[in-house]
Symmetry: D2
Subunit: 311 residues, 4 copies
């Protein structure tokens, strides 16, 4: 695995081109130099390197998972009535597109408007039930219930004015289901779920495998939903750099402002790893659009070296 | 090839859910019932069915080809200074996004703003030179110089007010190169290039093969450019239905309002056809976003039956 | 006063071109045929006609009054840091303009975004204090504390999703002062203040008189503030018909969806009434932009007959 | 007239807060220190001071005049089918509002979109006829045919990309009448008409007098049109500062980027001048929204000193 280690060593210094997210104290205190990578294939082969003990919050990466869970619960047809799956070049927290495109249906579940709508549909009548059900869904993939970081949740909750504006806007237009504050709290708690890179890689592996968990031998969700999630990740998973990531890396991925990236490859061969491969990355220094700088660099080189692009 | 024939027969009646484009007389007079399909693989195996003698204009399909040609001429780095490659859920002829996102750089070459900018960069000082050079580039793929339909060009030229508005807007912001009227005329002439489904399938095959023409054994353009073109087709090739097409069909494709669709599959096996496969479709009845209804239906079933989705 | 009575009789049947506001039960149950008019001049001469006993809620008319009160309390320079005074052709509850014009400063206090910002600045630490202080300010003009309609407030409060979205958006951008829910409740309570046409006419008279109350002989606020209020009423007081109202009627006015209109004339002579004249109107059938149809008709004819246009 | 002279002297140094327009060579070469003022009343009393010999181009001031002329020719009802009269806080050359408000009808004749539409309606089949007819209409007010500055017209024409974009957009949506290039050339020629401050003051005087020329004793256009023009000037005559100008100065006015301002007062008394007064100003250093800095300062002080605000 010498080559992989070298790719990581080469990518790590690029953290200097980014900064840790500063709008939450909990995120701003992280060491920007950190870089952790985990790769796992369908046979359970694992490659790990760097600060893999580090836990970090899912943030926007949770959007893919809650979308899959809600689709698995209610069926994609029902879900698509409330959220479209069209990409958009807008910032993740834009309101303007909601209003200019009647009647306010969120473009896709990867932007905040769509993700909050999805969170409002999480099964369960209370915030606790919704979050618990999502934790249980994730546990089927990673084996344990991920915890919510109270520190991160609390600081986001207190300044969530813009997300609250989006949520009430969605309610006014009939897309957000149930109580607005419940949806918003569930959303911010799912964003504050703590994972490590191996857990991230395992979730990616299940999605890559079309919902089938190769280690537990269970089909956790429908292949159709997995393919939809992969398409969404490719078209709008990397914020406003999604198009360039598709063009130059060519892998389905979803990033979060905590510096995490969930990525996956299909039909790949990366040293001993083969077939579908889940990738989890943590590199907290992010660029101006919100993606881990060192993480992006690593994926770019990895895709090139092992010809992983799906195109 | 009985199965393929059956898929076509099943898809054809869906033309009833669409209408031929009416804004150009030449397009509006076409029989909406028509459906022609051509598939070709790297060994030269061809499957054809339906009204394959019919010629039709490229329209927006030309946007992929001119983008590839301009990138092959000047390098992708140069081209990306003038056009971004980020998808957007906006209608193809929207101006609003240009103005709201400073400084007016077109989001991607698949919307009119981006495509007109690309046409302004076609090598050649005059309209004739630009069009001739593009025809020569296409000829390397299909063997002949495709003709410009004077009838279609003339009627588009006379009513091209909105495209002209976009073009002058791009000029005002420094993205359109050279003379505006030259760029616009070149753009509308490239849209009016006449092809049949087999030519379309052949162009698709070369893109699928990363720029290598398996029949002439020539590398016509760089693999990196081909991958960028495929990513663009997947993220924004099917107008405002691109995201849904990626989710439910999962193939790089580009459609035009004439009812043509250029599509491609990689690592596929469709009856006798194998490996990279180019697909050309003509079904002139289009839906409200601009895609051939019967053509979309055929691709949806084809992808499902032969598991072609790249996801 | 036979002529005035005739103008009212001629205007009343135009109620048929409108409808009572339906989004609040309390408003939707009002008889659309009602029309009440009150005119009062600086000598205390009063003309009244129609259903003048009817009370109705101020709704958007309250925006002028709270703006004047907040300016009188903190000075116009301070207030203009939080709200601009530029007109805009947008619907009163638009969010889009907030986002597209950095950094989200409301265009003027007559649209909801500006009015909610102003309500957040009402003196007082609690909702009750804020509303009480506004009531006291109004009482200096009309002699009594106007009551809040609990019925109207309650039904608006429960469905105020869009206003809440606007309020949190303003908070996110630093314009809304203090607690969002306090500001919103104060805003909706000021909208639910009950008045009759004579009280409306009296308020209008004080504004017309540049803040001087000709009956109590008190200067209630600065002439500079009154002139600013009149300018705002003329440029953006009649929702999306403000420009046409300025062109064809030419009087400062502010309307509410309850069907009320506060209007004023300066240097006028209307039968026995002379000089500055305050006008209060109630005609609950409103047109699609939100103005009382019969009320507008009456003002149009009144302005023409007595040459009241300020232009 | 010592007081007026003093006001001018006090306003002149404020030119330092502005800059001459730089996008046209002809404008950029003017001395920013210049300040010329002319006031004229209905009895022909004239006050003039400063560089009154200086000629300058009308630029946006021409928008009021062409609007009046087209209304006088075809009637306001006809004209209002093509252009609305609602104010908007947008920059004068914005396209975004055209597209977001279906179906693209210009908000008012004071923004470029509305003004170009009005120019397309100027009577006459050719550019020369249109311009000649407008010159003749102006000649009825000022006594002579104003000349077109070829230098200014030529430099604007060569770089009129943004106006051309607006014009073709209007054509695409059916608002612009006749040939686009003819309308645009007529528009830019009307903007390049040369006047001095006394001519400007005389035009203002006729508008102030509701279309009646007090010196030639002719009714040049209907009072209703004049009132509409005054309302437009007040609500949207001073670009994005129109609301503040209405609030703090309170006079109908129209400015141009050449540094000219046409302004008018009614029922005024300014030293020997009485009744309706026309004001012409030239101060070429403009602020960031496009208004003459020294000219605005002078009008602000003039309005305050002589209590000219219509509010």
């Amino acid at each position: 695995m010498q080559q992989l280690q070298q790719l990581i060593q080469e990518a790590q210094p690029f953290y200097k081109n980014g900064h840790v997210a500063t709008y939450i104290p909990a995120l701003s205190e992280v060491d920007p130099k950190l870089l952790a990578v985990s790769l796992i294939d369908g046979n359970g082969h694992i490659f790990q390197e760097g600060d893999t003990q580090q836990f970090f919050t899912l943030q926007s990466i949770s959007k893919v998972i809650s979308f899959i869970f809600v689709c698995a619960t209610y069926g994609t047809e029902h879900v698509l009535q409330y959220v479209d799956v069209e990409p958009t070049g807008d910032p993740f927290n834009s309101i303007i597109r909601l209003e200019s495109h009647q009647p306010g249906k969120p473009f896709n579940p990867m932007i905040n408007a769509g993700a909050i709508t999805i969170s409002s549909m999480l099964p369960g009548g209370t915030v606790d039930e919704k979050v618990h059900n999502l934790q249980s869904f994730i546990a089927k993939m990673v084996g344990v219930h991920c915890e919510v970081s109270d520190e991160v949740f609390t600081s986001e909750w207190e300044t969530a004015y813009r997300n609250r504006a989006i949520a009430y806007y969605l309610k006014a237009n009939g897309y957000l289901q149930g109580d607005v504050e419940v949806a918003l709290e569930a959303y911010l708690k799912q964003c504050a779920l703590l994972v490590d890179v191996q857990q991230l890689a395992t979730i990616a592996l299940v999605i890559a495998n079309d919902g089938y968990h190769p280690l537990t031998k269970e089909q956790l969700f429908d292949a159709k939903i997995a393919k939809m999630a992969k398409a969404l990740m490719l078209t709008c998973g990397m914020y406003n750099a999604s198009g360039k990531f598709a063009a130059f890396v060519g892998l389905p991925a979803k990033s979060g402002v905590s510096g995490g990236i969930l990525c996956l490859a299909m039909d790949a061969q990366i040293e001993e790893l083969q077939g579908t491969i889940g990738i989890g990355i943590f590199g907290p220094a992010i660029d101006e659009v919100g993606n881990s700088v060192a993480g992006m660099k690593f994926l770019e080189q990895l895709s090139r070296q092992y010809q992983l692009s799906i195109f």
